[in-house]
């Protein structure tokens, strides 16, 4: 399981993360919600070991997170792929060392993600954004990682594709049982799919609770603002 | 902003130190005994060993590299470029005299370059891909491929020999500057035309221009207030490189046209192995280059302060 224990990250004189503690069990989904500049990307970089925390510990099952070969789904779907290589090459990169390559698994994931084989022979600029993001999911899951991080996985997609992709992610998670850490500014998505929600603001976790409780009664003024904004922008529908 | 400029000045100082060191190291490591070279140049006969040793001490060459470097840089900081190792006369007045020929030539060359390239690029970009545009691009490509020394010779053949309109060799009258300046200016025009043209085209493709048009801003105002400043950025940036081109060009042009100036001064000094003179010219050109590039960086930041923000 993922443990983030009172982690602080400094950049120059400012703290981009301060005393952040989180935990995440296999098969569960934790959404970290916050605005740009709240420290969401820093959190991802720290969990993946690209940034060394100034204080605190981050581990997966007691070992460094990188030991469990976690994967990452990025905000900009095409950025995950080298524009000069075919998508098949990039998608297979995490299992490049495996002999024989797990072709059965890829076949199954492709079916689940509604991806056809001819897409894999194209290059990143030759597929749509929505397709690129599903290919990003394929790449992230091909090596069967126990932990998958999602950095704003839907924000480059249109409203309709967002919902479809979110459904696909949830279905795959139910099948594969990975732990999902989702970083997003979209409270609607977080509330619809996460088991827990953490509200991140200026590098601190302000609230850590269940989605249902959060929507019903946010504990902080900022949490209330976030909820009201999501309502005003049509993320939720009035229940009859 | 002020901090950014200070940083640039500091960087220029570091580079100048490097320049001084590199210049001195180059001459220090030149093959042959510099003291012998100096003695030979000065006395023009076979010289006994004790004379060479005396020269070595006189020139401060006996204490190793760093001692010699210190002995050279100290007076340099005070503006003293030393004395010619051949004639024993101070370098500075001769250098200044040479510069007084080179500066007008370089300025005239740059002026001709601008006078040709700016209108040409503006006309070319009125209809990108049209025949005027293709003509301008072809002309610029050709201009970039023609070596200055060859162009100079062709111009001499045409204007001085065949037509007899202009004087070619030397620098006696004002008219003597025309052909060298034209040689230099045509080369400058070729590279500037390309840069200005692509600068304008890029500035015209900026993402905010359609919205300005929908806001009702006239095409004239868009061109003046939004296209020109953006097109100026690449032009300003390459100005430093353009200067290097100009300095190189003057060396060649002065040799071809038999003009006195820094180029002829340098070539003569190398031939005579007159190290202090060579050092002086190399240092001066590098100094001009560093200072102009410093100014370019500052102007760049005034036009587009985002650069500074990004660095900080």
């Amino acid at each position: 399981m993922l443990r983030v224990e009172s982690v602080s990250v400094r950049r120059g004189r400012t703290m981009t993360l301060e005393d952040v503690s989180l935990s995440l069990e296999p098969g569960r989904t934790l959404a970290v919600v916050g605005e740009s500049g709240a420290g969401k990307s820093t959190l991802i970089a720290a969990v993946l070991g690209f940034l060394r925390p100034w204080r605190g510990e981050i581990s997966w099952a007691g070992a460094p997170v990188r030991d469990c070969a976690p994967s990452l789904v990025m905000q900009e779907p095409r950025a995950a792929f080298n524009p000069t290589l075919t998508l098949r090459r990039s998608v297979m990169e995490p299992v490049a060392a495996r002999r024989p390559p797990p072709l059965d698994r890829m076949e199954r994931l492709c079916r689940g993600l509604e991806l056809t084989h001819d897409l894999l022979d194209r290059r990143p600029l030759e597929v749509s954004i929505g397709q690129a993001q599903r290919l990003g999911l394929l790449r992230a899951l091909i090596a069967a990682p126990p932990l998958v991080l999602f950095d704003e996985p839907l924000s480059a997609l249109d409203a309709f594709t967002q919902k479809r992709t979110a459904r696909l992610i949830a279905d795959l998670q139910a099948e594969e049982g990975f732990a999902a850490l989702i970083v997003t500014h979209d409270l609607g998505y977080a509330c619809a799919y996460a088991d827990d929600i953490a509200v991140l603001r200026s590098g601190r976790i302000e609230e850590l609770t269940r989605p249902k409780d959060f929507i019903a009664s946010p504990r902080t003024a900022y949490g209330r603002k976030l909820r009201d904004a999501a309502v005003a922008l049509g993320a939720f529908e009035r229940a009859a | 902003m002020t901090r950014g400029i200070l940083g640039l000045v500091l960087r220029a100082c570091v580079v100048l130190t490097g320049v001084a060191l590199a210049t001195f190291a180059l001459l220090w490591n030149a093959p042959g005994d510099p003291a012998l070279a100096i003695a030979l140049a000065r006395y023009d006969t076979v010289v006994p060993a004790d004379v060479i040793d005396r020269v070595r001490v006189e020139a401060g060459l006996d204490g190793g590299f760093w001692a010699a470097f210190k002995g050279w840089v100290g007076p340099l900081m005070a503006g003293d470029l030393g004395r010619s190792s051949v004639t024993g006369r101070a370098v500075w007045p001769e250098l200044a005299a040479a510069g007084s020929y080179t500066v007008p030539l370089a300025v005239a060359g740059l002026g001709i370059g601008l006078a040709i390239s700016v209108p040409l690029a503006v006309i070319a970009t009125r209809a990108p891909g049209g025949w005027t545009d293709r003509f301008a691009v072809a002309l610029a490509s050709l201009g970039a491929a023609v070596p200055a020394y060859w162009l100079g010779l062709l111009l001499i053949l045409l204007f001085a020999v065949h037509l007899g309109w202009l004087p070619a060799m030397g620098a006696r009258t004002r008219a003597h500057v025309i052909l060298p300046a034209l040689t230099l200016g045509l080369g400058v025009a070729a590279s500037l035309t390309r840069i200005i043209r692509s600068g304008i085209l890029e500035a015209r493709g900026q993402q905010f221009l359609p919205a300005l048009r929908r806001r009702g801003v006239s095409d004239r105002a868009i061109g003046r207030d939004h296209v020109v400043p953006h097109a100026a950025i690449p032009v300003v940036t390459v100005f430093g490189l353009e200067l290097a081109f100009l300095l190189e060009g003057t060396v060649m042009v002065e040799v071809i046209f038999g003009r006195p100036g820094l180029g002829s001064f340098l070539v003569a000094a190398i031939a005579a192995r007159d190290f202090p003179k060579v050092q002086a010219v190399v240092l001066l050109t590098a100094l001009v280059f560093v200072v102009v590039n410093l100014l370019v960086d500052v102007v760049y930041r005034l036009i587009d302060p985002r650069i500074g923000e990004r660095d900080a």
């Binding site: 409203a159 929507i215 922008l233 939720f236 | -």
Partner: protein
């Protein structure tokens, strides 16, 4: 006074991206134009603006991102004066103060260049500029998608409360039916370069008729919650 356009269309590299379209917009209307990406929404918006401008009607445009509206090399004050000049509106310090206060950015330093302000403030500045000439119509092209939700919601609220009671109509272009449904009284659905359905917001949400409208409606929000 009703704005009407007819026969709007657009062709790009031989492909029709906007089929002939006619629209009528009444004074003070709140209209939403929704559709998937690539359905031709923005193209219709641009064609509408260009046509109305040619008719001499007052119409303003707010693009998706402030980067598409502001020159990074010019100060905000320059943009403001330029907009006034383009509208042939005499400089009016009071109006400027009023509009900037209405969008709660009166405290910003206009001498700065756009990137000296936060994106949320930049977008509000663009909206304030759009209001200078009291236009008959404002076209908002995905005005909130580049902003954080709290700021986006505030911005929409401020604009709406400013426009209430004035005759200015708004056309909100968005891929997000959930957002549009909260903000407009009439909806138009676009698909493959055509307006395929137009109805009042309530009717369209309750019984969408075309396939495009049905799929938009089915996925319009994340959760049904009591609120």
């Amino acid at each position: 006074m009703t704005l009407s356009v007819s026969g709007l269309g657009a062709v790009r590299s031989g492909r029709t991206i906007l089929h002939p379209t006619s629209l009528e917009i009444a004074s003070g209307d709140r209209i939403g134009l929704v559709g998937a990406s690539g359905s031709g929404k923005s193209t219709l918006g641009h064609a509408l603006i260009d046509d109305l401008r040619a008719q001499g009607r007052g119409v303003a445009h707010v693009p998706q991102s402030p980067d598409e509206a502001l020159d990074p090399l010019r100060s905000l004050e320059f943009h403001w004066n330029e907009a006034e000049l383009a509208l042939k509106a005499p400089p009016d310090a009071d109006r400027r103060k009023r509009l900037l206060s209405a969008l709660k950015i009166a405290g910003g330093d206009l001498g700065k260049r756009p990137w000296g302000w936060s994106r949320g403030m930049q977008q509000r500045f663009v909206i304030a500029m759009a209001l200078i000439g009291s236009p008959e119509l404002i076209v908002l092209d995905e005005p909130t998608s580049a902003l954080d939700p709290v700021i986006a919601a505030d911005t929409m609220d401020l604009l709406e409360s400013h426009l209430n009671g004035t005759g200015t109509a708004t056309l909100l272009i968005t891929h997000d039916l959930g957002l549009a449904a909260r903000r407009v009284s009439r909806l138009m659905v676009m698909d493959e370069g055509r307006v395929v359905e137009a109805a009042s917001t309530q009717d369209l949400l309750e019984c969408p008729r075309t396939g495009a409208a049905k799929s938009l409606c089915a996925h319009r929000s994340w959760l049904a919650v009591p609120c």
